[in-house]
């Protein structure tokens, strides 16, 4: 019966009367998120970048592979908005195309990795025993296994639609830490009374996982997926930078940065547009993730740390 201030703020929740209907959870989350100004700004930036990535290619008459022999290494102008590179390709067209590829890969990896982590973590945590041991061992193994090695060996050998396989490989090496967290959450959920209640009522284990465990870690998963998108973009660009990721003629922010690095001091437009967009995108995604964390998880709020320690 902690008469902690938060109990008071939360209104009378230990009574036997009807309390006024509080706003729904989604509404509360939305309101709190909107109150988070940096997060809202992040969201807007992410949206704008998506617009840029998908509308951008239609705005310019240059395609990312067109070569303008009359303009090599030309500075930004009305003809080439963001200038051209050393072989005369339009930097704007290239950058928006690269951005598009990086965003698609990031999204794909974020969603796939988080989904995989949810399944593995929830099963390991809920079933325990040998299932748990096996899955945990696999998780640990993949954690120490140099993912860099696999990706860099495999992906340069892929041609054409190789970026898809590359993205799946990235996802394959990106789920482990999340899975561990989900596992420990599932372990504590397994002992929670509502899960026990379901078990004693004869609800089957898979149904319990789908209906009770996963929805209850969903808020964590949403946050994590957001952040995973950001880190996936970082991994993608890093590998592409070294030629182990997206292969030419395809471009991504990573390959563009790699091409521009040498000229960064002398012809900054070849480098800074791609680099800037990369940082801005990841930053915006991280801010959104942080805002979501605050909005979804009431315990992450200052001054609302401890829940009600009701008479236990």
């Amino acid at each position: 019966m902690a008469t902690a201030p938060e109990t008071l703020l939360a209104g009378a929740d230990q009574d036997d009367g009807l309390i006024a209907r509080p706003p729904s959870r989604a509404r509360v989350t939305l309101r709190r998120f909107a109150a988070h100004r940096t997060a809202l700004a992040g969201l807007i930036v992410v949206a704008l970048l998506f617009v840029l990535a998908f509308a951008g290619p239609h705005l310019t008459r240059w395609s990312y592979s067109d070569i303008d022999y009359t303009a090599l290494r030309s500075a930004p102008s009305s003809r080439h908005w963001w200038g051209t590179n050393r072989i005369g390709q339009d930097v704007f067209a290239q950058t928006v195309h690269g951005l598009q590829k990086s965003l698609i890969i990031g999204l794909l990896v974020g969603v796939a990795a988080t989904g995989g982590a949810a399944v593995v973590g929830a099963c390991a945590g809920y079933f325990g025993g040998w299932t748990d041991r096996l899955l945990t061992f696999t998780t640990d193994l993949l954690l120490i296994f140099p993912s860099f090695l696999v990706i860099s060996v495999v992906s340069p050998r892929l041609k054409g639609g190789g970026w898809l396989v590359f993205a799946l490989l990235l996802a394959f090496f990106a789920w482990m830490v999340t899975a561990r967290v989900v596992r420990s959450m599932a372990i504590s959920l397994r002992e929670r009374e509502f899960v026990r209640a379901a078990r004693y009522m004869g609800v089957g284990p898979l149904r319990i996982i789908a209906r009770h465990i996963v929805p209850n870690v969903a808020s964590f998963l949403i946050i994590d997926a957001t952040i995973a998108v950001g880190s996936a973009v970082m991994s993608e660009t890093a590998l592409s930078y070294f030629g182990f990721g997206v292969q030419s003629p395809d471009v991504s922010l990573g390959t563009l940065i790699a091409d521009g690095t040498g000229a960064a001091v002398t012809y900054p437009w070849m480098f800074f547009f791609a680099a800037g967009l990369l940082v801005v995108f990841v930053l915006a995604v991280n801010l959104v993730g942080d805002g979501l964390r605050d909005a979804i998880d009431p315990t992450s709020r200052p001054g609302r740390r401890r829940g009600r320690g009701a008479a236990k």
Partner: protein, 705 residues
Amino acid sequence: MNATTAGAVLDIRGLHVDFAGVPAVRGVDLALRRGEVLGLVGESGSGKSVTALAAMGLLPSGADVRGSVTLDGTELMGAGDTALSAVRGNRIAMVFQDPLSAFTPVYRIGDQIVEALRTHQDISRERAAERAVELLDLVGIPEPRIRAAAFPHEFSGGMRQRAMIAMAVANDPDVILADEPTTALDVTVQAQVLDVLRTAQRETGAALLLVSHDLGVIAGTADRVAVMYAGRIVETAPVDELFARPRMPYTLGLIGAVPRLDADAKGRPEPLVPIPGAPPAPAALPPGCAFAPRCPLAEDRCRVAQPELVEVALPEPAVAVRPEPAVAADEPHLAACLRAGEVAGLRPLDVFPVPGADVAAERAADGRPEGTSVLRVSGLAKTFPLLKGAVFRRRVGSVHAVDGVDLDIRAGEVLGLVGESGSGKSTTLFEILELRRPERGSVEVLGRGTDTLTRREAHALRAQVQIVFQDPMASLDPRLPVGDIIAEPLRAQRAERDRIARRVPELLRQVGLDPAHADRFPHEFSGGQRQRIGIARALAVDPRLLVLDEPVSALDVSVQAGILNLLLRLRAELGLSYLFVSHDLSVVRHIADRVSVMYLGRTVETGAVGEVFTRPLHPYTQALLSAVPLPDPVRERARARILLPGDPPSPTRRLRGCPFRSRCQVFAALPGPQRERCTDQAPPLAEQGGDHVAACHFPAARPVL
């Protein structure tokens, strides 16, 4: 008013606390005199802990605090951190509710006490360490020298709370503020801790502010009581006066809602009075008396202005009938109620209507029903491996969580299962509910032994046995609407869609909820309502037996009463049987027909409630009963308490002989040769007349109430 303030060590005047503009405390005046114990009672959310924290200046920075707090005439309000730090722990000390989280986990207990000493006294580390050991000894911690080097997690809850008290009295404070110091503890440990607290208070001569929601604890400890409701003090009086003649309907309701152990021995206890409604949300207080929406005596004028806390002029006849005892002039009886004069002398039942009170009363007084057996458990045992290591776990021993439990419930019967935490109550429940062959012993549900059940049969049997959990928030999936939650057992039993659609509103109505609320989520309901939802879910598949695991212990008393009455009504209407697990003997006394007492995984005494509670035979049952505080100061003070020493031994070792002997007061008094029986032979459950059984070599009735 000034009269009370004279001679006060700690004087709180006009205290207001707001959190983000929402009032939590609204004008509290409290004066604490040297050597006095002032009890501060109220339901959760009434502002009592906030008041105590405000006096210490320890509220989070978001709190807006106004008013005055003076210590021996020195104003503390608005003082700087350095100035307040010099007072905290030195002149005002605090004992917190949850002793596990209240100690820093990474430092040794002794060192934390040393720190408290050296912060205020200029003494050497060695001297302080010596003193810390003395303090631990004072609060009754065995082997204090060794224990001082232990970390908080190595202490049991009771020991931690004692260490907390030792730390609080380290610097001979003038004032001790104890915030729900026994709430998380077992009754036997609660009795020990209250005893230590009283001793500490006597030794230091400090004034003690005891904050509690438990009227029983207050009755036995406090000299004066203040009752808080919605951030204000609504009644204050000397303890005897308050319990004998409460003048505020709310206090009356609180007293009437407490289940009592000492209900008259022959018949059933009086029905409990639930206080209807809920405390107002702090953000939306009604204009007049804050209690008006729940008060059966409310009149129009109550809703106009907030009643002042004033001395009550009693109408003449009342005084004539019940002459006032000699009350010192400086201890007035104040109440914030316009009709206080009329309330004095009324009984809770006179004011608060109890729906279905008659149901509760009309139960078979004696003899067991001739019904069929619903549950029969004999010799049940369950051991858990004691594991070590994080990855390659290896077994280093066994925890004998349940080690010989016998239960027997007939149709329509309520069996109360009591014991301290760690006695194996919950494990027993879960073993029964697993519906599989137990490790040892046998479980029969509705005449079917669980060892021979096929999967399909077990699934069908699950519909007959349903469970209600302790924490109504934890047992309802926060992500599902209430309708789905209630439908879950029906779906698990593959009921048709339209049957489910019909059943859900019916169930909601049955437990006193509005069927229109089926699409709401659990967090939109209050604690008591959530527990009603839990009960509705359990009833969904028409079970024969409900297993209730501490169903009311997470609820406030006023709410608890409503749930208990509901359970009694349902049982009468539906002919249910209950296995009611509780650590609270007074609740069991109120609801159960028969009671079974567990200690260290074994059944030590079983019998009809009336019989066991009036004529307990096992020394453990006697100690348990004796530890339960009575919400009646006069009787409470007159009682001789059996204080059990220490904590139950660890269930990792199976002792030869009687497992209770390390704490048994009878054993301690036995002459040598007779002791051998206790040390050598485990006492079997033996009949002691009728169906009253007890597992003790020397059973004898001893008065405990």
